[in-house]
Amino acid sequence: MNGWILAATLTLAAGLTASLWGVATGPLRRRVVAQNLATAVACPGLLLLAQGYDRPSYVDLALVLALLGPVGTLVFARLLAGELAEDPPRARGVTWAAAGLGAVVVLALCAVTGPGRATAKLLVTGALLIGGNLVASRALTGGAGGTGRA
């Protein structure tokens, strides 16, 4: 119907298929990175859907996901620390790609929304998304053994 929903469909289809493939196959280090990628991709998808359906209240979903997604990844980083320390994940490219996607989507939506409270909410969501993702993937790759930041 409109371009926002098309963009959301493409984002969700490509990103979630890739992360589903990553989480279903391969060694454990790839699986945790793929799980982190799933939340990082679904959040911009939900933002695009909110714009596509023209329902600003749907942004709440993306906000909650941006808040809880990194928490879930930190749970895995903490409780699988023993296995991850033997074979630490490397996720720099994926992390920056997901952060770039989030930044592009949030900035595009801000440009459409115009100044106001909705823009502030979008910016908060974007900051939580990108910051949470960077923290979570740093915890996965560096601090997995609990020895501090890499």
Partner: protein, 86 residues
């Protein structure tokens, strides 16, 4: 176009749930379940039920994997203690 996004979400949910059933190791299964929670929340959103999606996100993305991993860790520890006790 609305049907397309619903179809994509449904296919993803079906694939993810199948993978979750087919995975044997509980720790890896918790990872798949966490992705399944996110995908289900997306499905509820495109079906215009964001309130259900919100609760699904809260439960599925962090709480279910946490409980599963804690249980796995406790069971493994108990198994190791019994093995070393014998």
């Amino acid at each position: 176009m609305d049907d397309a996004v619903i179809a994509v979400a449904l296919v993803l949910v079906a694939a993810c749930a199948t993978v979750a059933v087919a995975t044997r190791d509980p720790a890896r299964q918790a990872l798949v379940l966490s992705v399944l929670g996110v995908v289900l929340a997306v499905l509820f959103t495109v079906l215009q039920a964001p309130d259900v999606g919100l609760s699904q996100l809260a439960v599925g993305s962090a709480l279910t994997p946490l409980l599963l991993l804690l249980t796995v860790r406790k069971v493994r520890r108990r198994g190791q203690r019994e093995e070393s006790g014998r």
